[in-house]
C-alpha cells in the first residue's frame, strides 16, 4: 500500500472516532456548539482526505452529510435523532470502506451504491427538500382505522396519498390511481388546505389527499402505483397493518439481520413448502419481537393470533410487518451494520497504529545517541587491546563500558515498554456508541459515564479489555438495568447509568464497570446453581461464594439468560479473558442498587513469544527463543539407536523425541511416512521434537503452574487461549533430561 493511502487510513479512522464521539455528545445535548463544529470539521476533513486519495464516491456521500451538519451549524435548526443516526450510519459505511482499502490497498470501486444511499438519506433533511411531516398528518392512520373499524380488521396496509398540487397539469388523475388499487377496502378523501370561496377556487390545482385501507400487500400496491403513475410513488406513504401492532419498537442490528432473513424466506416465489416457511418465519419473528421489553408478554399471543389466520394472509401480514419494521424509514436506527455488533471487531482497526508522544520518542533518540557513544568506546578498547595494553587495564576499561551498556539497555527496555503504554480512554470511548445502540435495541435509556480515562496500561491490556468489558456492559443493559417504568416505580431516575472507572493502584490497574440496575438476585443464583448440581441443598453459601458461582462455565448456559434477573451470561468468558491478561475479576452487588464488576490487571506485562504445537490431541506451547526451525523428516531418514531415535539435521546427528508419548500416552502415534519435527536448541545441543502439527506463533502471558498441574514434569507454565482453552507451555530442559 502506498504511503499516502496508509496515512489516509490512519487519519480517517481517527476522524471517524472523533466524529462518532461528537455526534453522541450532540445527541445528548443538541445545543453543544463546540461538538457540532468539531463533528463538521471531522466530516469535512474526511471528505478532503477522500479527495486526495481520489475516492469520488466517498466525497459525494460525505458531502451530503457535511451539508446537513453545515445547515445545523448555521443555526437554522437542531439536529434530530434520525439525522444523528444517519450521520453515524454514514461513519459506519466509511469504516467499511476503510477496512476494505486496508485489505486491498486500493479505493473500493463499487462504493457508488452506498454513496447514493448516503446522498438519499441526507437529502430530505436539507432545506428545500420535501417536508414529510406536512405530507401526512401524524394522526391520519388512527383516524382512518377509527372511521372504518370493520375494514381495518381485514386490511393489510393503510396508505396516505397526497398528490402534489400541480399533478393535473401532468395529466395525472389521483382518484383513478386509488380506485384501481388492488384490494381497496375503504377510502377517505380530505382537503389539504381549507377550501376557498368557490369563486376563488382553481379547479386545476389539486387540493385533495386520499387515505385508504387495502387488503393487498405493500409490494402489490407499489407495483400497481409503479405501473399506473410512477411519479406518484414518492407521494404515497404505506403503513403495514396487522393484528400485530409494534408501534415505536426499534430493532437493533442483530435483530434486523434475523428479520431480513425471514423476509427473504417469505419472498420466495416457489410456492411448494410455503406453509412451512410461513410457520417458521412466524415463530422466528415472534421470538425476536419477544426479546424486546414490553413485547415479551404479547409476542406469544401475537403468534397464536397469526397462526389462526389462513396461510396466505399470514404470509401477507408477516411480509407487511417485516417491510414496515425494516424499511419504514421511521427508524433512526441505521440498517444492519455488522461493525456495531461488537466493539471487539473495532479493536484491530482502532489500535492498529500507535500514536506516541514526542517526549517518549525524544527519550529514545537520546538513548540511541548514548548507545552510539558506548559503541565508540568499545572501538577504543579494541584499539587499545591491539596496541598491546595490559590485560588488567583492558579488563577495567571493558567492565566500565559493560556497566554503562547495561544501564543504557535497561533504560532502552523501559522506554520501549513505555511506548506500549496507552490511555484506557482508547477502549472506554468505543463504548459510548455501543451503549447507545444496545440501549436503543432494548428500549431502555442508559447513559455512560467514564472516569479515569487517562489512566494508562500496557497496549496489550488496553486492547484485551474491549471484549470482557463488552460482555459486562451487555449483561448490565440486558439484565441488570430495569425498564424505565420499573425504575420510576422504585424511585430511580428513568435513565440508567453505567459507569466505567479506571485507576492505577500500585503495579495494577483497576477497571470498574458499575450499573445502577436491580442487582444480582442471589437467591435465584443459588436456586439455579442447585438445579445444575453446582451446590447441594444443604450447602450454606455466602454472598461471595454465590457470586463466584456466576463464573462457573456450567452456570452460564443459554437457559439461564432469562431466568437470572441480573447476570450470569458469559461471565466465565469474562473471567478467562481477564485472566489471559494476567488479571482477576470480582463482582459486587447490592439488591436494588446495582452491580459492580471489577477487573484488577497488571500495569505492564511481559509477553512470551511461543509457537504452538499439537501432540496427543493436546495443544502445547514451545518458547520461540528455543526453536531453530520446523521441518518434515521422512520416516526412512529416522534411525533407531537402542530405544532412542535419531535423524541427521544440517550434517549433525540429532536425537528425536516424540512429544506425544513423552507427555501423553506412549505409542499413541500411528506410523507415518513423514514426521513433523520442531528442531530446538538447548545449551548448544540440538534436539528434534516430533509433533502432530505445528500451529501458529503467538505472544502470551505465561502463568505459573498451580493446583493439580503443579507437580507435572516438563511444564514451565500455563496460559489461557482466546477461546478459553488452557495451553501448557513446555519446559524443554525438563523434557530433554
Amino acid at each position: 500500500m502506498n504511503e499516502l493511502l496508509e496515512q489516509f487510513l490512519i487519519e480517517s479512522r481517527e476522524l471517524v472516532q472523533q466524529a462518532t464521539l461528537d455526534l453522541l455528545a450532540i445527541e445528548n445535548d443538541a445545543r453543544d456548539r463546540a461538538k457540532l463544529d468539531s463533528a463538521f470539521r471531522s466530516f469535512h476533513t474526511l471528505k478532503g482526505g477522500a479527495g486526495i486519495v481520489e475516492f469520488p464516491d466517498m466525497v459525494t456521500g460525505l458531502h451530503a452529510a457535511e451539508e446537513l451538519l453545515a445547515s445545523a451549524r448555521a443555526g437554522s435548526r437542531a439536529m434530530n435523532v434520525a439525522e444523528i443516526g444517519n450521520c453515524l450510519w454514514a461513519l459506519d459505511q466509511v469504516t467499511g470502506w476503510l477496512d476494505e482499502m486496508e485489505k486491498t490497498g486500493t479505493v473500493p470501486i463499487d462504493a457508488g451504491r452506498v454513496a447514493e444511499e448516503m446522498v438519499r438519506r441526507f437529502q430530505p433533511a436539507l432545506p428545500g427538500g420535501s417536508d414529510s411531516a406536512a405530507l401526512s398528518p401524524p394522526d391520519w392512520l388512527a383516524g382512518l382505522l377509527a372511521a372504518y373499524p370493520d375494514d381495518a380488521r381485514q386490511a393489510v396496509v393503510a396508505l396516505m396519498f397526497q398528490p402534489d398540487a400541480q399533478c393535473f397539469f401532468r395529466g395525472e388523475d389521483p382518484l383513478a390511481l386509488v380506485s384501481g388499487m388492488p384490494g381497496l377496502l375503504a377510502m377517505r378523501v380530505d382537503e389539504v388546505n381549507p377550501w376557498p370561496e368557490l369563486d376563488d377556487l382553481d379547479p386545476f390545482e389539486c387540493n385533495l389527499r386520499f387515505a385508504a385501507l387495502s387488503s393487498a400487500t405493500r409490494e402489490t400496491l407499489l407495483h400497481h402505483v409503479d405501473l399506473t403513475n410512477p411519479s406518484a410513488a414518492k407521494q404515497i406513504e404505506i403503513r403495514a397493518l396487522s393484528p400485530i401492532r409494534l408501534e415505536g419498537l426499534k430493532f437493533g442490528p442483530t435483530a434486523r439481520l434475523i428479520l431480513e432473513a425471514q423476509r427473504q424466506l417469505l419472498s420466495h416465489e416457489e410456492t411448494t413448502g410455503m406453509a412451512g416457511r410461513v410457520g417458521a418465519a412466524r415463530r422466528v419473528v415472534m421470538n425476536v419481537v419477544g426479546r424486546y421489553g414490553e413485547y415479551s408478554d404479547v409476542a406469544q399471543r401475537y403468534e397464536r393470533l397469526l397462526a389462526a389466520e389462513p396461510g396466505d394472509r399470514q404470509r401477507a401480514i408477516l411480509q407487511a410487518l417485516l417491510t414496515e419494521v425494516l424499511e419504514d424509514g421511521q427508524d433512526p436506527e441505521p440498517p444492519v451494520d455488522k461493525t456495531a455488533l461488537s466493539p471487539g471487531d473495532h479493536s484491530a482497526a482502532t489500535v492498529r497504529s500507535l500514536r506516541v508522544s514526542v517526549e517518549r520518542i525524544d527519550a529514545l533518540v537520546n538513548l540511541a545517541g548514548e548507545l552510539s557513544i558506548a559503541k565508540n568506546a568499545l572501538a577504543h578498547a579494541a584499539a587499545l587491546a591491539r596496541g598491546g595494553t595490559t590485560a588488567t587495564s583492558l579488563a577495567v576499561l571493558l567492565e566500565e563500558q559493560q556497566a554503562r551498556l547495561e544501564r543504557l539497555v535497561d533504560q532502552l527496555q523501559r522506554s520501549v515498554m513505555n511506548i506500549r503504554v496507552l490511555p484506557i480512554r482508547q477502549v472506554f470511548q468505543r463504548f459510548q456508541r455501543m451503549v447507545r445502540d444496545l440501549a436503543t435495541e432494548t428500549g431502555k435509556s442508559v447513559a455512560l459515564v467514564t472516569e479515569g480515562d487517562e489512566t494508562e496500561a500496557d497496549k496489550s491490556i488496553v486492547e484485551g479489555l474491549a471484549e470482557p468489558i463488552m460482555h459486562v456492559v451487555r449483561n448490565a443493559i440486558d439484565h441488570g438495568i430495569e425498564r424505565a417504568d420499573e425504575r420510576s416505580q422504585s424511585g430511580k431516575p428513568a435513565q440508567a447509568t453505567i459507569s466505567m472507572r479506571a485507576a492505577k493502584a500500585g503495579d495494577t490497574v483497576v477497571i470498574e464497570i458499575s450499573d445502577d440496575g436491580r442487582g444480582v438476585d442471589l437467591l435465584r443464583v443459588r436456586e439455579v446453581a442447585f438445579q445444575r448440581g453446582l451446590i447441594s441443598a444443604t450447602t450454606t453459601v455466602s454472598e461471595d461464594e454465590t457470586l463466584e458461582l456466576l463464573f462457573k462455565p456450567s452456570f452460564s448456559t443459554a437457559s439461564t439468560v432469562n431466568v437470572v434477573s441480573g447476570r450470569g451470561v458469559g461471565m466465565d468468558a469474562v473471567r478467562s479473558a481477564v485472566e489471559a491478561l494476567g488479571g482477576s475479576v470480582k463482582i459486587e452487588t447490592e439488591s436494588g442498587k446495582g452491580t459492580t464488576v471489577r477487573f484488577t490487571l497488571p500495569y505492564s506485562v511481559l509477553m512470551t513469544p511461543l509457537v504452538t504445537v499439537e501432540a496427543a490431541g493436546q495443544i502445547f506451547g514451545i518458547p520461540l527463543e528455543k526453536v531453530v526451525e520446523t521441518r518434515r523428516v521422512s520416516a526412512g531418514d529416522i534411525s533407531a539407536v537402542g530405544e532412542a531415535r535419531i535423524f541427521v539435521h544440517r550434517g549433525r546427528t540429532v536425537p528425536l523425541i516424540d512429544l506425544g508419548s513423552t507427555i501423553g500416552e506412549p505409542g499413541c502415534r500411528l506410523p507415518m511416512d513423514e514426521a513433523q519435527v520442531v528442531v530446538v536448541v538447548m545449551e548448544n545441543e540440538m534436539c528434534g521434537i516430533e509433533v502432530d502439527r505445528v500451529g501458529e506463533k503467538m505472544d502470551i502471558l505465561m502463568r505459573p503452574v498451580e493446583g493439580v498441574l503443579a507437580g507435572l514434569e516438563g511444564i514451565a507454565g500455563v496460559t489461557i487461549l482466546g477461546d478459553g482453552r488452557v495451553m501448557l507451555v513446555l519446559d524443554l530442559e525438563a523434557i530433554l533430561r
Binding site: 398528490p163 393535473f168 388523475d173 383513478a176 381497496l184 378523501v189 369563486d199
Partner: protein, 83 residues
Amino acid sequence: MTVIADSKNGPIRLEGDCTLDDSEILLGLFTSVADPVVDLRNCKSVHTAVLQILIAAHARVIGPAASPFLQKHLVPVFRPSGD
C-alpha cells in the same frame, strides 16, 4: 357532454366519464347555484378535479351511482339530495 344542466335550479347530471375539463364547467355551474344537487346515476367515473369541486361546493348527490366504486366510496361522502 358529460355535465348536463337541464334547468337552472334542477339537478346537474354527470354522465359517463367526467374529465378534467368538466371540472371547470361544473365549477362555473356551481358558482351560480346556492345549494347544488348532482345526479350521479349515470356517472361511471369522475376525475379528481371534478371530485374536488363536488366536495368544495358541498354538493348533494342523487344516487346510486352507475359505478360500484363511486357508489361505495364516494357517494357516502356527500349529503344525499333528500337532506
